[in-house]
Structures are given as C-alpha cells and as structure tokens.
Symmetry: D2
Subunit: 286 residues, 4 copies
C-alpha cells in the first residue's frame, strides 16, 4: 500500500444553501484536486455532514495555514470541522485480555499494510497474548487489573498511553469495564467490539443468551465507548446464520470470525477518517 498524500476535511453544520459551493470554491481557489467528496443531509435534524478528500500535490495552501484561511467560511456556516492529513499515521494502543482472535487479526492486517497506523503498545491484564505481540514485534505491557486496584491500574495505563502519544484505543475483547474517568480522556476515541448484534444481548455472556433464546442469526457490533455500557455510537455490525446444529461452542467459534471482521472494519474506517458522529450514531462515508 503506497501512502497517499491527501487532506481530508470533515464538516458538520446546520444545513443551508450555498454550503457545497462555499467549500468547493475555497478548495478550487487553492487548486485542490478533489478525489472524493461525500455528503449527507439529516432531514429531520436539518444537519449537513461532509467528507471531502483532495490531493496535496498542487494544493497551494500550507496545511498549517488552513485553519486561518478556512475560518471565515467555517464561521459563516457555523461549522464544526476537522482537518486530517492522510500521511499521518495515528498511534493505536490495543487493549486485550485472553481471547486473542481480534488481536491476531489486527496485527496481521497491520503488518500487511491494511491499517495505516502505528501500534506502539499492546496492554493486557493477562500474559496469554504476549507471544503474538512478540511475533509481530509490538511492545507488550502486562498490567494486572483486580477489583480493588482498578483505579491504580488505569493510572498506569493512562501514563503509558500519554508516554506513547496514543491517539486512539481499540478494545480487542478486553474484558474489563473502563471507568467513566478513563473514558473521558479519549472521547470518541475508544473502539470496542461487542459479541452480539446490539442492542440485543447487551451486557455479559451474549452468546449464551443468544443460544438460550434460539435466535437464527448471531452478530457482532463495533462501537465507540461511552459511559453507558454497550450504548455508544455503532460503527459497524454484521451477522451470520446459525442453526440448531450449532452448539454453544460453535456459536463462540463462528462469532469470533464475525468479531474480527466487524472490529477491523471499524478500525480501518476510523483511521481513514471516514466516521462522523452525531446524535449518538455514526455516518460512515464510504
């Protein structure tokens, strides 16, 4: 994968006339070659959401000056906006417990060049997955988390994250609930994988409950972590058909394949700045 040298502008603002013209004119005046532009209007909330990506080769505005130059347009349309540079590789920390399938999948994709990020750190409350970290040469930190010392453990975790300038966190089947305080340090920057089709079977042991309920499909859900458990904005979901022939163990095994795919899609979209949040849900620009 060759690294692209593009800029990405993500915008959300009240819907109004002249928005597209205003943005397109600004980019054209600076000689931008637009590669992708995607927009969405929420008719009910009267909201305009946009993602536009352009080549930096030929663009005559230094990205450091972008904010100042773009400010009048942003003010005129009351925009919330964010500029990203595709060449920047965000720093990802992976949290994991014992199950290693999601970690193995992320590390393989990282190594294969599918994920345009750096992984300075894997954090685990167990040592089961250390061999994987070593095979892919990623630093591994074992931090015990017990009921009594969760606060201390989180302090240690946060210090490590700061030290490595971590941009976002992926909970790759991390079996500890993070404190509200921890989450506030990484708002909309912690991605979790839940092993059910949320909101069905939120909480613990979803495969057991799916098996008992006799559903005909199992699912997995990746979402941003908020203070309400399993209630954050959903990034991606998928399901697989099961039948009475599938035992609980089969559900767990087949669910693991779903979890891997659903989580890795969410991580890639997050890295590629495709996800826009509003009203506790996401727009994923494809």
């Amino acid at each position: 994968m060759t690294t692209k040298n593009t800029a990405i502008l993500l915008i959300s603002c009240p819907d109004q006339k002249g928005l597209v013209a205003g943005i397109a004119d600004f980019l054209y005046q600076h000689n931008a070659n637009i590669l992708h532009a995607d927009q969405h209007q929420d008719a009910e909330l009267k909201l305009f959401l946009m993602r536009v990506e352009w080549e930096l080769a030929g663009f005559d505005l230094d990205l450091n000056d972008f904010e100042q130059q773009f400010a009048p347009i942003a003010a005129r349309f009351q925009m919330q906006w964010r500029l990203a540079h595709s060449a920047y590789r965000p720093k990802l920390a992976i949290f994991v417990s014992r199950y290693d399938h999601c970690l193995a999948d992320l590390l393989y994709r990282y190594q294969a060049g599918e994920l345009n990020c750096d992984i300075p750190l894997i954090l685990s409350n167990h040592t089961d997955t250390q061999w994987l970290a070593e095979a892919y040469r990623i630093p591994f930190q074992h931090i015990v988390v017990s009921r009594e010392d969760k606060t201390d453990a989180e302090k240690t975790q946060l210090a490590l994250l700061r030290h490595h300038h971590v941009d976002f966190i992926v909970l790759a089947r991390y079996m500890q609930v993070l404190s509200a305080d921890f989450i506030r340090h990484y708002p909309s920057r912690i991605i979790n994988i839940h092993h059910s089709f949320l909101p069905a079977f939120h909480g613990a042991r979803p495969y057991h409950r799916a098996f008992e309920r006799g559903v005909k499909l199992i699912g997995a859900t990746s979402h941003y972590v908020t203070e309400v458990l399993d209630d954050g904005p959903i990034i991606e979901q998928d399901v697989a058909r099961i039948s009475h022939r599938d035992s609980l163990d089969d559900l767990i095994r087949r669910g693991a394949d779903l979890e891997k795919i659903v989580l890795s899609r969410a991580v890639r979209w997050h890295i590629e700045n495709r996800v826009l949040l509003y009203a506790n849900k996401t727009v994923v620009f494809d």
Copy 2:
C-alpha cells in the same frame, strides 16, 4: 407443484441408544421407502429430536393403524410424537390490519402453489386489504376491534375459526395484541411476524427505534405466539444492511421486504411439518 403422498413422523424424547435402530426397523418392517431423515441431539438437555419422511406408496401400514402399531416403540423410548400426512392441506386463517405486503406475498405464493394449504378465511379489523382478498378469491371478514370490545371481537373470531376448521393462524402484520385466552385455543399454532431482529426492539415501533439507535442492519423475526409478547419460539430471522443514506421511510420499505420473506418461510416450514418445538425454541429440519 405435484402433491407428495408421504407420511412425516416428528419425534422428541430423551436421548438413548437404539433409538434410530428402533424407528428405522419399524419403518423397514412395513416396507417404507424413506425419503428424508433428519435428527438432532441436544447434548445439554439430553434430548433426541427427529423428523423422518417416507413414501406412502408401498407402505403396508394404514395410517389409521399407525398409532396402535407404533405405541410400543413410543412407550419404550418415552416419545412425544406426531404423525402428519403430506397430502393433507392444513387450513390457514390470515389476520391482517392495514399493511398489506405480507398478505399480498402469502396470497401470491398460495396461488403459485408454493404453500400446500387451504386459506378459507382472511380476518381483518380494517377493510383496506379487501381488494386483495377478492383478487385471489379468498373470503374476507371485517371484524372491528376496539379497546372496549376486544373480548367480543375475539369471540366472533374464534367462532369463525371453528366454523372453518382452521388449523393454524398467521398474523400478517395484525396490529392487535391477542388475549391469553385466545392464544390458548391455538397453542404453537399462531405465527407472527415482528419487524425487528428479536430480541432487539421488541414491543412497538421497532423501525423508529432502530433508526434512532443507529444500527447498521435491520431485521425481521417470525415466531410462534405465546402469552409473553414477542417472546415465543423463533422460527426464522433475517436482516438487511442499511446505511445513513436510508431514511426512516427507507427502513420501513426495505423492512417490508424482509418481513415478507421471513414470514413466508416460517409459514411454509410449518405447513411442511419441519418445525419442532422444545425449550421455547425451534428446530427447523431442512
């Protein structure tokens, strides 16, 4: 579709050695040509479930004598069992309110010979779908259901069902909750379609709630009706992918396609005696 002339035996009993041999010997002694045999063991509940279908041509036992002849085997293995004759067309009553997509789909499939049943009766608390009943020449009964007179309405409905010797009922988007008393008249013989992937969004307005929650897939669930709302044994489920581009109206339109397919599969499987119930869930022998 040519009508098959087969017998179907459905069995559920404690799992134990010699079961298959016992059943297969009995059928072989009476010269049965087995067309399909499918079995399932629930390892946890130590339960054996079986569906076996054989041709009646050549079978030397009159079906009227089957019970008496099979009784010793059934007793030996503590079987719950049921014999069905594929040439018998069960009598189906369809309940419907205003939405007509499920009704239209069932009637088309009925007319096309996909559903091996008779439909002596369509019951509705509205008249919106009367034209469809007339196009397919099915008797249509309009029975108003108001909050005060639900008991009276159900009495009228039950009388009609008895008069037409109805075997089972399909709620094709029937927007009234049936009383526990009504349900007891047709245990495991009322099939409902719920417009969500149960247990997510049970209860009212599932599409609205799916839209608000920002799920990435919508679903539909067909299930037998029990006294607990939306909690009966699930027969079939399916889902479709949606995106932020889909408005609430799109969800409703696309969901209608799911509902049709999920309901018609459940109805066909019920008619073909493929569904076995246990532990509030279903085995669907395919």
Copy 3:
C-alpha cells in the same frame, strides 16, 4: 409515497479541477436547495460522474431554460449531461412470458406506490398472466411470437410502445431474444432479469447448469439489454445460499425470490435516475 418535486442532474465528463465548484456555484446562484449530491471519479479512465438532486421549490430557474443557462458550464467541462424531473412518471412497458413471479412483484410494488412510474401496457407472447394484469387493471396485449414471424411481432410491439409513449421496457422473464434492431429503438432503456450470477451460466437453463456444477450459491442479475446476449451493463445482482438438500425445483423456487428482488431494485433505481452508464458498466448512486 408523496411525490417529490425535485430536479436531478446526471453528469459524466473528463475529471478536472473546478468541476464541483462550477456546478455548485451555478445551482447556488439560482437558489437551489441541494438534497443529495453524489460523485464518483474513475481514476483509471480519468472520468468524473455526478448525480445531484435539489428541490424545485425556491429554485429560480425554469427547467425549460435550464439547458440554455447550463450550456456554458457544460461546454467548458465537456460534459455529457441529462436533467430529470422527479415529478415526471416515466412510462414502463412490461414484457412477460409464462413465469409470473417478477410481474406479480412489480405490479404489487407499483400499486403500493414504490415505483414512481406509469404502466400503460403489459405485452406477452402467452395469456397465462392476463389475470394478474386484470387484477391490477393494467392493459394487457397478447402478441404471439413464433420463429417465423418474430419481425412482424416486433413491428406490432414497437407500434404499441410508440402509441403509448413508452420510456423504458422491463423484460420480466420474457423468454424471447429481442432483435438487434428492436434493441436499437430503446438503447439503455431495456432492463432484463437473468436467472444466474452473470457471467456464470449466461445463456439458457442456468439453474440446471448451476445444479449440475454443484455451486453453493445461486444468483440473479438485472442488466441493460445490449446486442450481445447477457452481456449488457449490470445494474444489480444478488445471491442465496443453497445446499445439497435443495433439489432443482428448490433452486428454481428460491431463485424466483432472488429474481423478483434484483429486478425490482433495478427498476426502481432506473426510475429514480440513479443509474449512470460508462464503459459497459453502471454506477448506481445510492
């Protein structure tokens, strides 16, 4: 379904800077409220494709003057373009032979308001589906097509299509091959449903060949008709999983459900002016 009052502009031209700005400025100057804008760049062919839809309420340019006003921009960017008015209901003629499932599905959706078109005419080389046409009150024409008189039959068909000002044609399992001459009268305006996942099993008897080959999925493909059989631009495809338990009859029955859905999606997208053609393939703007 309330009829929208919008204009839709479909553009294809060499990719170049300033395109989006040029189009957006033009619309903004005429006070357009853009509802949807979607674009696609083909990097290899250096092609820009766009669909933009805006409300006509408040738009200060009469659509009859649009061409003249837009001409300078179109010329500057060497555009191929087309303007559509969402309130216009295109006239659809359905061709059908004996299988009625696609016809029944289209007529139901038409009646339910899902297809924003008029259907002045159903043409068939058989009379099997006449009852359906009558149930939905659509004029039905029976035109026999024999090997010797195909030319005459097509003359009669073309005269009827002209008489009814037909805009586009759907072949809903029409089992006759249209002549190249006929097709030239409706370029990119004849939609066919093929009962396989093209290009697998193009030509005759695809279900039989799928069954023999032992594939694990069956499919259906809707495409525009060109002079090369089963080779026109694909609009939509879908598949369903099958197993050894499915007989050839099961494949045909289950395939029918795929055909209905795949064809109706293509027809709706065509009506909603979502399909852009280039390089013998389609972009479907969703």
Copy 4:
C-alpha cells in the same frame, strides 16, 4: 478444543429400502451412542449418502475389526464406504506462493485449535512467507519452480510429502498449476482456493475481469483439484457486495477476506470428514 473420541462412517450406495435400519442395527448391536447422523438421497441418480458419527466410549467393536464385521452389510447394499477416527489428526501440507493471507489465517486457526490436524510442512516457490512459518514453528521448504524444471520440482515436492506421510494438501494461493501426474498422487485430497465465484472468471486474473465486467458481488471458491483447471468439485463458496466506490485494489483486499474464510471452512470440513464426493460435486454434511 478437547479432542473428541468418535468414529465417523461415510457411505455412498444405490438408494434402497432397509439401508438406515441395516446401519442403525449394526451400530446398536455394538452399543454405539450415535452423536450425529445425516443422510441425503439424490432422487435423480437414486443414490444414498450418509454420515454417521458415534462415541467410541462404550462401543464394543475394535475399529481394527470394523471392516471385517461391517463387510456383509456393505456387500448387501453395494456400499462404497470409509471409516474415520476423529482422534486421528491428518497431516496437512500447505503450498503457498507470495500472497500470505490464506496461510496466515490457516496457521492462526491451527494454533487456536480450530483445525484438528498436524502441519508437518509448508512448501513454497518463494521465501516471502518464511517468517510466518517460523512464527508458528512449522517447517518451511523453499522449492524453486521454473518453467523448465517443473517436473523436477514436483519430484522433490512428492518426495517431501511422502517423507512426512502427508494426507492432504491445501493450495493457499499457490500460483503454479500442478501437473496431472502430481494430482493423481492425491486424488480428492488437494484443496484449492480460487479467487472468484466459479464458474465465473475461471482461469487467471479474476479480480481484474470482475472489475472490468462491473459485477456487483465478488466471490471465492474452494474446490478439490482435478486435472481440468478450476473445474473440480466445489466445497464452499461465498460472496461480498462491492460497489463502484471499490477500486481494483479494494476488490483484491476485500476478496482476500473472502478467500481466507472460504478456504478455512473447506479445510475444516475436510478434516472433520464432512465432505462426500459424487458426480463431480460435494455433499457437505453439517
């Protein structure tokens, strides 16, 4: 995964009365506890296919004596049959070229205990994947294959396979065509992954051709290798939806995920003795 201690009997023979009774009686007389029994009748070819699995604990017949004891029944019904012991771990050799995604997936699943086999050997005509073999501690052999010396290379390969008592071979994106002579050494024991929905796009560069044809779904197919290229019995297939937004590189990346899943399913089913071959197609007992 705890290793099961079961026996599996796979049978194919002309369909006839008394088959199930004969087999079930035999097993019952030897005190077998049947865990799974699945059968299939091919009505057209009048063929009976069966897979039955029973616990060896309590079974009073030594598996070494099985053939002799079962011979009369096998002869009576003209059976082709095969007995497998679930505790036996077949020996798998993986052939790979440069693409490593299928190899990485198989090795992960092997290590996670999903594949009940041994992998004594990875063979490659390149060294790109050696690091993966080493991470999972599997012996890796680099054997150069050039146009002139394919025969010599195959001799070397065959010698290695014999030396390691290899039972079956998986071509995990191995980009060399095997000779008919080589294939004859492992009839129905070489599994290939083809990166298209066969029979569409058989032969070379399927993603390129899928992209050019403008299909709306891409697929992958795992099949047994026969002397006719890409024509062997299909074990498993799956597809994924694509759109005009997907570049050729996206197709290749997304196809890789399909290839992994489709291949690993086929390998697992083969190991679990679930696949029965007849008429150049497969029955996969689930």
